[in-house]
């Protein structure tokens, strides 16, 4: 079932073109290691239109198993749009069209047979602003297991909630007030609750859309630690504005620019030795 298109030819060619300026976008081809062996998620030729406006141009990118992939780039470059393709959250936007193939474990997610409900139970998502439901902490975590029928008797659900909260590093802080409203938690706690909520349904992939942008540095550090821990079990893609964060948590980094995927590389290498001029400019802070 697993099909991986041979990357070699394309990428070799791309190493030769060095993109100098934004004007050359018509000819943009991604450079770097966008394909991996045995990918968890593989995207080929993904383009997205919002009405007449094209937001993503022909993106080829894999997510490897147990890796953290950071998506970086200036505002409006399409990294969030790309992230939302992977669990089809773009379906919720009126007039949005997604072309190309996106496969999880080799199964096309946009196929007419594909069930978006089970897709989203496999691909969890954490949003930019913490969005706990206006219910108790317990009910927030239990919501997913309940709707997906993952839980049988009551104590099983208790176990799921406890495990999820422990994994998200929130258990100690909230174990004594599981039935108080989740909206009473601090911003950092709320975001960890949202992460716990996402992992409670045991997904395979977790998408994070700037999960720390609304948080203070201490809460950010805790979430980053958490992301590193979660890598053992999950495949994670994280959109971030902070290059430091990308450097700290990710193994690979993809740089988007105005809807194009400009460069993908192993994080350490990319930050020390970018191959594209655009990437270099962004990393060194010349724009963004």
């Amino acid at each position: 079932m697993i099909e991986i298109s041979p990357p070699s030819k394309k990428s070799e060619k791309n190493f030769t073109t060095r993109l100098e300026s934004v004007d050359e976008f018509d000819r943009v081809e991604t450079v770097g290691e966008m394909f991996v062996d045995r990918p968890k998620v593989s995207c080929l030729g993904v383009s997205v239109h919002y009405g007449d406006k094209q937001a993503l141009f022909n993106i080829n990118l894999d997510l490897g198993r147990n890796e953290v992939l950071a998506l970086i780039g200036p505002s409006g470059c399409g990294k969030t749009t790309f992230l939302r393709c992977i669990n089809r959250m773009n379906d919720t936007i009126e007039g949005c069209r997604v072309d190309g193939e996106i496969k999880i474990e080799g199964a096309e997610i946009n196929h007419s047979d594909a069930d978006v409900v089970s897709l989203r139970s496999k691909v969890g998502m954490v949003f930019q602003k913490p969005n706990p439901f206006p219910k108790s902490i317990f009910d927030n975590i239990a919501y997913g297991p309940r709707i997906h029928g993952l839980s049988g008797p009551k104590n099983e659900l208790d176990d799921i909630v406890e495990t999820a909260l422990k994994r998200a590093g929130l258990w100690e802080e909230v174990s004594d007030r599981l039935h108080t409203p989740a909206t009473g938690l601090s911003g950092g706690q709320q975001q960890r609750l949202c992460i716990a909520r996402a992992i409670a349904v045991n997904p395979e992939v977790i998408l994070m859309d700037e999960p720390c942008s609304a948080l203070d540095p201490i809460a950010t550090a805790r979430i980053e630690e958490l992301i590193d821990d979660l890598r053992e079990k999950f495949t994670i893609a994280i959109v971030t504005h902070s290059m430091h964060q990308a450097a700290r948590v990710s193994q690979r980094t993809a740089y988007f620019h105005m809807g194009h995927l400009v460069e993908v590389g192993v994080t350490d290498q990319m930050f020390t030795n970018p191959r594209q001029r655009l990437t270099e400019d962004y990393i060194t802070g010349r724009f963004g």
Partner: protein, 431 residues
């Protein structure tokens, strides 16, 4: 709106849980659609009922009668003066002519039954014909006159025909006359102009909405003259001037609450204060308009505030920076820009006022006023009150009149709302 489930289903077998969830999804969606359907069905049912029972009131049944304006019958000289013609007993003239045309009808009660086929207005019609054209005297004319309401109801099918005589509005004999005249082409229907011009009447076939329409117009005029300037002024104060303090807060809360006070309470207020304390004349458009303007004020204030708020502060800053006074800024710059929104709100408020019945009943606008009011200090009726009075009348002929009056008021309301929509669309401005 599709929120992400357009491509949910497919040929691939799903787990039983997911099948169940998808079924629940469809069921839920259907419940929503059912709710909308039920609500829309009620609209259609209501409008359908009104239309089907009201459209016939726009036509009136007329019978032809042969009238011999015989000076002997009229008891006048062969070349009578107007004076003489006014003194003629036209009812007797009509009766005698009927006797001549239908010699086979014998006996007092029989003859009365025959006369009851025609409207009570026949003598008046004869009189006005003769007065306007005295040369008719001595001639024979075939004249079309209104039928009685009972005959008309049977003719239009609004009253049942195939039931026993005692429960029917016409007797068997009258029914045969009706059929006979229809066969001889002595019947015709004509547009009911009287409905739009004359006032209420004891006889349904003569009743009209004219007085009520004028009464409503006068009442709305008073409402507009009071509530528009005051509503806009209050909105300007609250939006542009009011300091953030307790007084402003109390005013705001009050306006919101007034918007939700039952209309009948405003009627009680009008009765206790305007009529009993200030001694204003009962049942007049003046008092009605004052009461309705109190009800309309909150609507106008709320709409005007929204319109004022939509004008960007930069415009005020610009005007003030030029040295305009606050009042000049408002009158020269802010109000003109907010005016479409304010007018829209005002029209909607007036449309509500047009349909209000209960407060007008409280201040005595329910009297039987046969004359068309000529000023705001005359006793008057109004459209919704007339509808209420007709609906409460037991005679069958009033049912179609009520429904027709409702059609008229709905036309006015639709027109006002379209005007509001037009204003909003035409002058809508995005900042």
């Amino acid at each position: 709106m599709n929120r992400g489930f357009s491509r949910t289903t497919g040929g691939k077998p799903l787990s039983s849980l997911n099948i169940r969830r998808q079924r629940a999804e469809r069921r839920f969606r259907r419940i929503g659609l059912f709710g909308v359907g039920l609500a829309l069905a009620s609209v259609l049912f209501l409008l359908g009922t009104i239309f089907s029972s009201g459209y016939s009131a726009f036509w009136r049944l007329h019978f032809a009668v042969d009238i011999d304006f015989d000076p002997v019958l009229m008891n006048v000289s062969s070349d009578p003066s107007l004076e003489e013609l006014r003194d003629v007993n036209y009812l007797a003239l009509f009766r005698k002519n009927l006797e001549r045309s239908y010699p086979e009808v014998k006996g007092r009660s029989e003859r009365r039954k025959l006369a009851q086929m025609f409207s009570e207005s026949v003598p008046d019609i004869l009189e006005s014909l003769v007065i306007s054209n005295p040369s008719l005297v001595g001639s024979k004319q075939r004249i079309w006159v209104l039928s009685s309401s009972s005959a008309e109801m049977i003719y239009k099918g609004a009253a049942p025909r195939d039931i026993e005589e005692t429960r029917r509005v016409l007797t068997d004999q009258q029914l045969t006359w009706l059929d006979q005249w229809q066969g001889e082409n002595l019947t015709r229907t004509r547009f009911n102009f009287r409905f739009f011009t004359s006032g209420p009447s004891r006889s349904p076939e003569l009743a009209g909405l004219g007085g009520a329409i004028v009464g409503s117009a006068l009442t709305l005029l008073v409402t507009l003259l009071i509530s528009f300037p005051m509503g806009v002024a209050a909105a300007i104060y609250l939006e542009e001037y009011a300091p953030k303090n307790r007084v402003s807060e109390i005013i705001e809360v009050n306006i919101n609450n007034l918007a939700a006070v039952p209309s009948i309470i405003f009627g009680l207020l009008g009765l206790a204060v305007l009529l009993n304390v200030f001694g204003l004349p009962r049942g007049t458009p003046l008092v009605g308009g004052m009461v309705l303007s109190l009800m309309t004020l909150p609507t106008i204030i709320i709409a005007s505030r929204a319109a004022l708020k939509a004008v960007p502060p930069s415009i005020r800053d610009g005007a003030l920076a030029m040295g305009a006074s606050p009042m000049q800024t408002i009158f020269h710059h802010v109000l003109p820009l907010a005016m479409p929104g304010i007018l829209t709100g005002t029209i909607i408020g007036l449309a509500q006022a047009l349909g209000e019945t209960a407060p007008l009943l409280m201040i005595g606008m329910f009297a039987f006023v046969a004359d068309t009011p000529s000023g705001i200090l005359d006793q008057a009726s109004s459209l919704p009150v007339q509808i209420y009075l007709w609906a409460e009348s037991s005679e069958r002929g009033y049912v179609e009149l009520t429904a027709a009056a409702i059609m008229i008021i709905l036309v006015f309301l639709v027109f006002m709302n379209l005007l509001a929509v037009f204003l909003r669309k035409k002058f809508e401005r995005r900042w």
